[in-house]
Amino acid sequence: PTYPKDLQEEGWPPLMYVTFLKESKRAVNSIRSLVEEEDEEDDVEKVSWSGEPVGSISWSVKETESSIRSTGEVRDQSFPKIHTAPSLPKNSSGYSLSSLFKGKAKTGSFQSFSESFGDPSIRNYAPELRKPKSEYKDYVSDWTPEETVKRMQQGKVYSLEKFRSLQDKLLLLDEAVNAHDGNVITAVLIYLKKSLSKEILFRELITREIALRHYIHYLKEIGEQKLLVELFKSMDRTEDMALMQYRDHLNVRDENKKRDFLKNCLSFPFSPDDATHVQDHYTLLERQIIIESSGQADIFKKYPRKASILNMPIITTLYYSCFYHYGESDGTFSSPANIRKTFRISDKQFLLTCLGARAKLKAWFDVDALFTTKNWLGYTKKRSPIGFHRIVDILQKNNAPVQVLQDYVNLVEDVEQKISLAQKYKCHDVIINTYRDLKDRQQLIVYRGKVERGSSEYRKIEEILSNSVRLWGEVSPRLPLLQS
């Protein structure tokens, strides 16, 4: 991708913007005093009930112009009907226009209403639409499914009572689906729910995807959990059924009841992956209930908890354990090692979390131990599954002192990255030693200019520089040296 040049070169925020910003602020501030002297009548704002200023609403509304600008000539402004549903259910009505436009609309060419007037079927249909038959009828029972749906859409009086045979009911439902109006589809479904046994309704919904989704959503909204579960079961949608039931744990407040609820969930037909997660969820809450009631008093006194550990994510629980239960034996449920093993936490994730917790407590010795490995000869070496530059970042964000930081900056492999980190965090020793090892006199001289005159860093550079001629010879080749 192409970044604005300044972003690439100067990083974020680009220096230029900061300068601009400072300038603008200065200018604005310099005149602020003047502005504030004068009375600020425009600052008096009326506040409405939602706490927002209402004074700004402008009411310069012009009179309705619509009737004035009449052109006198009536154009035919009607638009053609287009094919809408992806899979139209059995269409009982003979006068759908969709077939006319199916082909052409797809190819993307314009299809004007006028062109299609050559077709007699439209001519027959058009007047019928303008004046629905229903207008002439006295008895509601005479309304066809189409008329009924139309009346429902328009908010007119209607009656569903006469749709008694299964066939009529389904015709009505299909007509509602054809009209694309979710409100009417749901209304018809409510009627079918009341007037059909659930087995029959479920059976018919299987082949009617759009109606089915409306039904599911309706049941969700009115909270008919049990019926939903039955619906999913009858359709063999077992995973949906399991998730639907699992979802209910959100409504359980008491932690012991919730734990029992989750335990009950374990037998639900989740997908294999989800089954593992739900098992974890149960185990986690079970652990949290135990952990919540344990812990040494002194550390809680020193670092009071902000919140209970109940219902927190696994990683938060691990962090908590690294914070309050560090050093407990592996067999204890609250120990970091036990949590790590139980929830199969990756090395990287474990390290990140543990590091965060121990650094927060300024337990630098623990931090050190996290990275130290011994080989078979007993030599120690520092290793990390994450780049040491990231470790430095995390330590720095936890306010690690320079003495701690520089140990880790030193472990960064890439020399350039090492120097830039060292400069960022003022680890003088690392910089000086690196330049010394690189035999880079020039950089040392430059750096001498940056440190305080007479400081220990300054003296150290002086010493190296004065010895350098003897040690490195006059012309120093830039050899990358191995680290000590």
Partner: protein
């Protein structure tokens, strides 16, 4: 700023009429319940109501006390209660409880529910089931459209996205049709309608039927063309980090109904203030569409000019000073206030973004869009999750990865999902199920690796008889085909080209030159071609449902390039972002067109993803 403006761009219609219509209807409805009454308002109807009326208006029509709907027992002592609500089951249930509690106490009151913008049968059925149908009268306040600015109109229905695209509930289709119908009858007649997406088609049909049901009046059209687009045609764009000023403000501070609350951090005082953000704010109006990096230079120039204007005072005599105070000072003060605000906001945003390593985040996003170094992107996302940084951000990156790569490899999917659940809570199982249902975050089907898929798409694309193979594509229903679309439409410029954000050359500037929003590119292409001809491969990859229709028998006069023909109403079903609006404004300036954006709600990545969460009871 640096844009060349075509001078012949037509004027926008005046939408304040819509506000007046809504207000008049509300007053009429309140008068249907004569006498003093307490009014309960649904929380998310408050801001829209604020934009069209004020407390005085309501008080003038016998509204005594105002309450927010909080789903708790009420304290009102009034004999008449009026509820102004959205047609939601939850709210109606609460009202049933209120009424039935009164009944149990033997207390008599009159109740009225005003549903906005319409009522649903499911709500009325609930009233019936709870035995209060008849005790409560119901009405509809057809407040479909709220103009947020000169060129933005919102339906203020954020739930549209979840209801339609996740739940498959078409309850808002007719609402969208009615909104279109209202615009048509006030600012139409439209002469052409283009669209893409199943919901767009249905909304079009609903609108067309409503036009046929009603009477037609002949009048001079103010808006000639309409473009309807489903949000799921392009889910990538709203998931990208916004970097134009208005979008960034929305991402960080959340603009609500055209109004933003700036925290003390911005105002450099001890209190937050609410500010209207629209074209009335002269400073904002000049920076809203700019890439963030360009905003500082502009603000700094403005600040300097302002200082110069103030400095003029030094050499003035009394008379000149008087003129200065009476003529210029007020404007300068106003400008000063606005300038301080936006400088404060920019500063605060930059601080926030620097803290979250925005540059690295953008780099990852751009790599995903470009399909470059995907393994590195995955590691970045993984670490983001491991560090428990913002849950929504992690989810956003995962979805972007899935959309751009046509799904995740099964092993990546499993591992990232497991880590996500560890970091943010196992109950997000439900979120993953929703994301999968919607196609935002999916697993590649075994045996269908990216390369296989791409070669298949590639083959079909080149095949002249592709029409016969549409069936093969229906199996790709949830595939985003982003890479193939990107190549077809040149959405991702070559990475080695330098992009000058000072003089944007195309709509890609809204994403730092890295990506042209698919939604806006489609609109550009269709307008240019006057239809979908030549875009067959593209529409096939987008699952079809495209249409282009012309009105009337005398349609020939629509060819005449009147002003109304250069005003295009773009309706986003499921929400649009400020970045897309900026891109369309750019396109309008380039082509001498004016775009009016009608959206079910203003959205952004956070709103879109938060609507996928299930972790509340």
């Amino acid at each position: 700023m640096a844009h060349s403006v075509r001078r012949d761009a037509p004027e926008l219609p005046d939408f304040s009429l819509l506000k007046r219509l809504a207000r008049d209807q509300l007053i009429y409805l309140l008068e249907q319940l004569p006498g003093r009454k307490d009014l309960f308002i649904e929380a998310d109807l408050m801001s829209p109501l604020d934009r069209i009326a004020n407390v005085t208006t309501l008080k003038q029509h016998d509204v005594d006390k105002l309450y927010k709907v909080e789903h708790k027992p009420i304290v009102s002592t009034s004999d008449q209660l009026c509820f102004l609500i959205r047609p939601r089951i939850k709210t109606v249930k609460w009202i049933c409880d209120v009424v039935n509690a009164d009944k149990a106490f033997g207390r008599f009151r009159r109740y009225k529910i005003i549903f906005s913008p319409q009522k649903f049968y499911a709500c009325e059925n609930l009233l019936e089931e709870q035995g209060i149908f008849g005790d409560v009268t119901t009405d509809e306040w057809s407040f479909y459209l709220l103009p947020l600015d000169d060129d933005i109109i919102s339906l203020e229905l954020p739930e549209f996205f979840r209801d339609y695209f996740l739940e498959g509930d078409q309850r808002w289709v007719r609402t969208a049709g009615s909104a279109l119908h209202l615009l048509h009858s006030v600012y139409g007649p439209f002469s052409k309608v283009y669209g893409i997406g199943r919901c767009s088609k249905m909304a079009y049909e609903s609108w067309r039927e409503q036009v046929e049901e009603g009477e037609q009046r002949a009048r001079q059209a103010e808006i000639g063309n309409v473009f309807l687009i489903d949000r799921d045609v392009d889910l990538v764009t709203p998931l990208c980090s916004q970097v134009v000023y208005e979008g960034l403000v929305d991402d960080i501070f959340r603009i609500k109904c055209g109004c933003v609350e700036f925290c003390p951090d911005v105002t450099s005082s001890d209190k937050s203030i609410k500010v209207m953000l629209n074209s009335q704010d002269k400073v904002f109006n000049e920076i809203r569409n700019e890439h963030f990096s360009q905003v500082f230079g502009f603000l700094s120039q403005k600040a300097r000019n302002l200082q110069t204007a103030y400095d003029k005072r030094s050499g003035m005599d009394i008379k000149q000073m008087k003129t200065f105070v009476s003529e210029e000072l007020k404007g300068l003060k106003q400008e000063h206030r606005l300038l301080s605000l936006h400088i404060g906001a920019s500063e605060s945003m930059m601080k926030k973004k620097t803290k979250q390593d925005f540059q690295e985040l953008l780099k990852t996003e751009h790599s995903l869009l470009e399909g470059f170094e995907i393994r590195e992107c995955i590691s970045y996302i993984e670490e983001h999750i491991n560090r428990q940084v913002s849950m929504v951000e992690s989810m956003r990156l995962l979805c972007l990865l899935s959309l751009t790569e046509n799904g995740l490899l099964p092993k990546d999917y499993r591992s990232l999902k497991a880590q996500f659940l560890q970091s943010y809570g196992i109950e997000h199982l439900l979120t993953f199920s929703n994301l999968k249902q919607l196609g935002l975050l999916v697993e590649q089907q075994p045996g269908e690796t990216l390369t296989v898929m791409e070669s298949r798409v590639g083959k079909l694309v080149n095949d002249k008889t592709a029409g016969k193979l549409t069936d093969a594509f229906s199996s790709l229903a949830k595939k985003s085909n982003f890479r193939a679309l990107g190549r077809r439409l040149n959405l991702v410029p070559k990475s080695d080209e330098e992009y000058d954000l000072r003089v944007p050359r195309d709509m890609a500037y809204i994403f730092s030159g890295a990506y042209i929003p698919l939604s806006c590119k489609l609109i550009e292409q269709v307008l240019e071609r006057d239809g979908w001809t030549g875009l067959e491969e593209v529409t096939r990859m987008l699952n079809g449902h495209e249409f282009a229709v012309t009105a009337g028998s005398n349609g020939s006069d629509a060819r005449v390039k009147t002003d109304s023909q250069r005003i295009i109403l773009v309706m986003f079903l499921g929400g649009c972002t400020f970045s897309e609006i900026s891109a369309l404004r750019f396109l309008g300036r380039e082509k001498g067109l004016k775009f009016i954006v009608v959206t079910t709600a203003i959205t952004n990545s956070a709103r879109l993803l938060e609507s996928m969460l299930d972790n509340h009871a």
